[in-house]
């Protein structure tokens, strides 16, 4: 879980600059996101960004640091605190052929623009055939001691609504490749950047300007035979951590990273269950009707004859993310909880 230093830095984003790739070419998730935006802005002048404090300040998490100097204030637009209008503007600009990328300062504030997202953006193409290549970006998720107004996982609200592709990458390469795909996609998308991952996870990321990761495809991040953990976002890293310790105990766990949570890649999930016959669905969105509820229902419906155990779920309760570190740790699934759940599954 988060360290004391991180607690102090909880909302302590933005102090430090975005940073650079290491000499070995490793990029943090934060840098990978920024590179995707920069490359697409360079490639296509129809791409522009709007949001609160993304220009002069460079964004609450410094993702867009330096963009206004390169692309100017018309393509890097600081907006008033008016989320409904930020989304509406993105829709209107897209209707006129632009490719807007709107930043929410935190995914928590997507509820403040909810009506334009769910009533206009999500439905307009089905109703009219007009293309809305809009990307809504937002830092999401907890584990950084930022309390319930800066830690939400909004993806189930929008997955239920339909009409918008939703990505929740766990690794820098997936973040860069999926964001570039989203910007090039003619459908609306919501791209959620997990703030716990931003500066923690780094890896070598492609510098090919056309490096893309396909939307709607899950990926097996670790192969295994005894049980499958289906997960996404920050929980992927918890799952991999647990898989290590379980391996030591002789339990071989396969970790499937959904990467895109709407629509979901049922085939990759089912292929894994057919192999392992045991499924743990792990997710940071709330247990009741979080993304994992759909995943579990799909497995129960389509992999019934392959299952040797009930489809288990591990996720936080449907309550506001609490501030106090003792409470937030109890609220979130931890590595130990995951190991316990897999043990239970294996006992069947």
């Amino acid at each position: 879980m988060a360290t004391a230093k991180v607690e102090a830095g909880a909302a302590g984003h933005g102090a430090e600059p975005r940073g650079k790739r290491t000499d070995a070419g490793e990029a943090t998730y934060l840098i990978a996101v920024a590179e995707a935006l920069w490359e697409e802005m360079e490639r296509d002048e129809k791409v522009f960004m709007l949001g609160e404090d993304i220009g002069v300040y460079g964004g609450a998490f410094k993702v867009t640091e330096g963009f206004i100097e390169r692309f100017g204030a018309t393509r890097v637009m600081d907006t008033p605190i008016a989320e409904e209008t930020i989304v509406g503007m993105a829709v209107g600009a897209a209707m006129e052929g632009l490719r807007p990328v709107a930043e929410f300062q935190y995914s928590d504030f997507m509820s403040s623009g909810f009506d334009e997202i769910t009533t206009v953006l999500a439905r307009y193409h089905y109703r009219t055939g007009v293309r809305l290549p809009v990307v809504l970006r937002a830092p999401s998720g907890g584990m950084v001691r930022a309390s319930n107004f800066h830690s939400i996982n909004p993806e189930p609200w929008f997955a239920y609504t339909g009409g918008i592709k939703i990505m929740c990458p766990a690794f820098p390469s997936d973040a860069k490749g999926l964001l570039k795909s989203a910007i090039r996609d003619d459908n609306p998308s919501i791209f959620l950047e997990h703030k716990w991952i931003y500066r923690r996870i780094k890896e070598v990321v492609s510098e090919d300007p056309d490096f893309l990761v396909p939307i709607g495809k899950a990926e097996v991040k670790r192969a295994g035979d005894d049980a499958t953990i289906v997960t996404y976002g920050a929980m992927v890293h918890k799952a991999l951590e647990a898989a290590d310790t379980l391996a030591a105990k002789g339990i071989s766990v396969e970790v499937v990273d959904l990467r895109t949570v709407y629509p979901i890649d049922e085939e990759t999930v089912l292929r894994s269950i057919e192999k392992t016959s045991r499924a743990l669905v792990l997710y940071e969105s709330y247990r009741f009707l979080g993304i994992g509820a759909e995943v579990a229902a799909v497995i129960a419906e389509r992999a019934f004859q392959h299952l040797d155990a009930p489809v288990m779920r591990l996720a936080p309760p449907n309550i506001p993310v609490p501030f106090s570190p003792t409470l937030e740790d109890a609220f979130l699934p931890g590595v130990a909880d995951i190991e316990r759940a897999v043990d239970e599954l294996s006992a069947w």
Binding site: P80, M89, G92, M95, E116, H125, R127
Partner: protein, 351 residues
Amino acid sequence: MATKTQKVDARKRPLTDDRLREMLHTLKLCRYFDERMEALYRQGRLPGAIYSGRGQEGTHVGVASALRADDSLFPTHRDLSAQLTKGLDLPRVMAQFWGRIDGYLRGRDGNSHIGDWQGNRTFAVISHLPIAYPVAVGAALAYKLAGDSRVAMAICGDGSTSNGRWHEAINTSAIHRLPVVWVVNNNQFAYSTPNTLEFTTPTIAERAVAYGIPGVRVDGGEVLEVYEAAREAVERARSGGGPTLIESVSLRWRGHAGHDPATYVPAEMLEDYMANHDPVKNFEEYLLAEGAVNKEDVEAIQQRVEAAFDEGYEYAQASPFPETGDVTKGQWVEDGYWEADPGRGGGTEAP
């Protein structure tokens, strides 16, 4: 910046007689369409809902006449007359009302929740009020970024001004001096709710002060007065002068929707507006007095209008329903539904 409500002198800039006659034709078309559709609704021959714009044609025709074909219009459920003025094709509009494949939205949406973005640059109406206002800001932003001279115009009702989106959109457009015209069709009621329960100022136009933009209040019973105010506002937007707020006052002659007897509207008020503020009658009389038309012209226009309605009705009834197999198509661009011609095997029998 002058934000006091000003009386517009419509005579200052007369239109050509052809334009005036065309305007009369549009007014009469909208009026006749509205009356006939209500009759069909009452007979149970029209599915879904109707939101009559009767008595407000001066507002709708006046503002939309000030737009170029490549300007965009963002209307509400009440503003079908503005969309007809912008150029929508009557038969396809009627096909939409009957849920047919030849409607602009291929039967996916109904009644005045219509739009023709690809053709006439009108936004497909969404119920939620005034949800298109922020979208118009985005279109106007695109025009400004492209550096071209196009203008966006959005319409909403008096009641919609009490919604937060109304404030956000106007404020944001004012900050960036975007080429947009904000129209409020003040028909004095929001469903059953009167102006006095929607806002406290004597007029809506004067609220433009809060955004540092010009506000104009005009008589929706006088189409030329409305037109002139809209023309000025559109010109201002085109020339980089930023947004304008136009309040056009009329009365909703009919209920909120077809089902509503609107007993909450004072009888004298209704009588007064129907007698003295009828935009169609007033304009017809004006053109006759000016000699721009004679009785025969008016007769001819009326016949043209009625023929068009009957033709549209036949077209709609003959148009098939969407094919049930297509129901999930068109959710994603890549499924190609909107690029191909839709299936026409849905038949014309309502299930």
